[in-house]
Symmetry: C2
Subunit: 157 residues, 2 copies
DNA sequence: GTTGAAATCACTGAAGG
DNA sequence: CCTTCAGTGATTTCAAC
């Protein structure tokens, strides 16, 4: 179970993962060694999965987000579609979703014309793909991978 | 324009943002101070947006992902819906998408019953919401926010 | 781009409450 | 579980080249 202090540490690291450890210690009011001990522990427990740099999509010509529903027919146990989709660099997420029994893919390209090319040339050409339905993103109001951390959230250790 | 070395630095930081700087310097074959200078520069230019800790969703009771399409009618210029959605902690992404002229929301909860509660109590109760269509995620094969970095990607500086 | 010097920080281990 | 105190090595900044 994570206590208040560990929660606070995680919140600080969610904002700025490269903050000096002494500064974290100052903010939570503990000795640096104790803070380090808690962080290492959470890394060991798999609570902390890793640290990533966040790049600005606009600076890399990845302004256009789109969600594509892919209707496909695959033999049970086959993974051709998933493997093919996974290898497409522009695709950030691949989910199998209920409702329409299809794959939902989130991707990021430069513009709508590249979106068209990608769908036609790389997605619809995959074996098993029957049809696709695309929702191009016109406006994004919130986009984060952050998981809200609260005292009650974590399963007992 | 980012050269090969800066690209390599970004790739290393995408994998492990907390890798020691001397190790980055060794891998790209440069002096540590020069590597730091490049990183600071990219931070200033907004190429690097920040550094985040990656938490394990399962450890925080956030196993269930869902995408919800929200059909709403709003007066032009009003932001009630967006603001209300933004404040819901479980919602990670809010996009306005083409096609159905609606909002697409990505959220993360503990299980399907919490998903039901969230949609009924927090989303459908928002003023202006007409209807919702939910795609619960049954299986996730790929999920990353990583932007592929390549030499040709970045606009000239 | 480099090197080198100096201040700060990371990390480890030990002693103790 | 926490603290403090050393000691070693890395980070970081700053200078000069």
């Amino acid at each position: 179970m994570l206590d208040e202090i560990s929660i606070k540490i995680l919140k600080i690291l969610q904002e700025k993962a490269r903050i000096p450890n002494v500064e974290v210690a100052r903010q939570v009011g503990m000795a640096p060694s104790a803070v380090l001990e808690r962080i290492r522990k959470m890394e060991m427990q798999g609570i902390i999965d890793g640290y990533e740099v966040r790049l600005n999509p606009e600076q890399f010509n990845r302004k256009q987000i789109a969600f594509v529903f892919i209707n496909a027919r695959e033999k049970p146990g086959e993974l051709i579609l998933q493997n093919a989709l996974s290898e497409i660099q522009e695709i950030q997420e691949i989910h199998f979703v209920s409702g329409d029994d299809c794959y939902l893919v989130k991707l990021r390209v430069s513009d709508t014309s590249e979106l068209g090319n990608l769908i036609r040339e790389k997605i619809q050409s995959i074996q098993g793909v029957i049809s696709t339905r695309t929702a191009a993103v016109l406006n994004t109001f919130k986009e984060t991978a952050r998981i809200p951390v609260q005292e009650t959230d974590v399963s007992g250790q």
